[in-house]
């Protein structure tokens, strides 16, 4: 299987699977909103599918609660490669307001470490901050992942005394 070829074809046809890992629904309704007339992601060839077997991208929302973790791992494992992940919202990116709770894993970075241990490769990740991430932000995240738009934000370290 030619990963590079498949990845380049994803640029014009992207099927997404919505993976809620215990989010508050805020990002989830914005994901759904992105499908509706005002934002209409279908114009990019993006389609929401019901089975991870059909999906190219998992739209991951939520901080990954203990109870969903095994199911999330299984769903990601079921996706055929190349498989991408869009971590949507403060919870999926950094654990959100509950990052230090006892019953959550605390976002996709932690999950990625676990996945690596289990031998499940992810071929691309984009982090979309927001609480909830607005539909435009989700669109921007996906286009950034596909290389259509450029990432704007960069790490900054500035001195206060200067």
């Amino acid at each position: 299987m030619d990963l590079a070829k498949a990845l380049s074809r994803l640029r014009r046809s992207l099927w997404v699977f919505h993976l809620n890992t215990g989010s508050c629904n805020g990002c989830d309704i914005e994901v759904l909103d992105a499908l509706t007339p005002y934002f209409d992601v279908e114009r990019f060839g993006i389609k929401l599918v019901a089975s991870p077997r059909h999906a190219d991208v998992a739209l991951l929302t939520g901080p990954i609660t203990a109870k969903t973790l095994p199911k999330v791992v299984k769903a990601l494992q079921a996706m055929p490669r190349p498989r991408l992940v869009v971590a949507i919202g403060a919870c999926a990116v950094g654990g959100g307001i509950w990052f230090d709770s006892y019953s959550v894993l605390g976002g996709f970075p932690q999950l990625e470490r676990l996945l690596r241990g289990l031998g499940i490769e992810i071929d691309g990740v984009v982090y979309v901050p927001g609480c909830p991430a607005r539909p435009e932000a989700i669109i921007y995240g996906i286009t950034t992942l596909l290389g259509v738009t450029q990432q704007r934000i960069r790490k900054r370290v500035r001195s206060a005394s200067g």
Binding site: K5, L10, P37, D40, E42, R43, F44, G45, A50, H54
Partner: protein, 290 residues
């Protein structure tokens, strides 16, 4: 055989084989504009298929048969399109031709049931059982309307009304058979599953999608084949009329399914039964009157 007929058959077959994903793209665009949005580019379905071909195949355990059934269904659906194209080009309207078409359609449905069983997914199974339940009613309707159409052609010199009624009936059974709203019951529960193909991935899924679209094309083209093969004597008019009619009917179907919701198995069977019965009565009336 006349070489021009051979050429026409080949061209028509190629057009029919290449068209389904393209018209599906148009259908998606039409649906989008009814929903006040832009929608995907017209070649989107082709792009989707190309992408799926490049993806990894992930098979659930003990479902090696799925690969076989997926390929087989592509072969059968292409054969189906082939039959329609050739029969139209050479103006072959007979009981034998009708039987060949019905057999091919029935075997496609049988195959999708087999695919669902190989994947052992409960939703795939529910989906295919529903499809079978609906198919039993539909196949009866299809057979009936083809029989009525064949008879109407024979009496078409007397009156065209019976032929029109039977063609409409054929179109309705084609619409119900093509897995569009409100009759896409095999999709099981909307978000829990995508019906019989739920466990397939990559090229296998592409094969299933293509064969599904090809079957849709065949079902749409069926009433056009009956009409044009029976009535149009000129080869060019016949072939182009057949093609244009099929595309037009496809778009009518697209708009119809966009303004309707999904039916339920019992409702669907009841409503379809009522439609077939009343149309058969109307046809009988028309035959008796002319």
């Amino acid at each position: 055989m006349d070489p021009i007929l051979v050429l026409a058959s080949i061209l028509l077959t190629l057009a029919l084989v290449a068209m389904p994903p393209l018209i599906d793209g148009v259908e998606r665009k039409v649906r989008a504009s009814i929903q006040s949005r832009i929608g995907p580019p017209i070649i989107q379905t082709w792009l989707d298929l190309m992408k799926l071909l490049a993806k990894e195949i992930k098979l659930p355990e003990s479902s090696e048969l799925a690969a076989l059934t997926a390929l087989l269904s592509v072969v059968i659906s292409v054969a189906l399109l082939c039959c329609l194209a050739v029969f139209t080009a050479v103006r072959m309207v007979s009981v034998g031709a009708a039987l060949a078409i019905v057999m091919l359609i029935a075997s496609l449905h049988g195959l999708s049931l087999l695919t669902a069983c190989t994947t052992a997914n409960p939703f795939a199974a529910v989906g295919s059982f529903r499809r079978v339940a609906l198919t039993i009613v539909n196949e009866a309707g299809l057979l009936l309307s083809i029989a009525l159409a064949l008879y109407s052609i024979q009496i078409s010199s007397r009156s065209l009304v019976p032929l029109a009624i039977s063609a409409a009936m054929l179109a309705i059974s084609g619409f119900a058979n093509s897995g569009r709203l409100p009759y896409d019951l095999h999709e099981a529960e909307p978000e829990l599953a995508s019906g019989t193909v739920i466990e397939l991935s990559g090229p296998l899924l592409a094969a299933e999608i293509y064969s599904h679209l090809a079957e849709r094309m065949a079902l749409t083209a069926l009433p056009m084949y009956v009409l044009f093969a029976a009535l149009a004597k000129n080869l060019v008019v016949r072939c182009l009329g057949f093609l244009a009619g099929s595309i037009g009917l496809w778009l009518v179907f697209a708009v119809t399914s966009t303004v309707l919701g999904r039916s339920r198995v019992d409702l669907a069977i009841r409503s379809l039964g009522a439609v077939y019965a009343s149309m058969a009565i109307a046809w009988t009336g028309a035959v008796l009157l002319c």
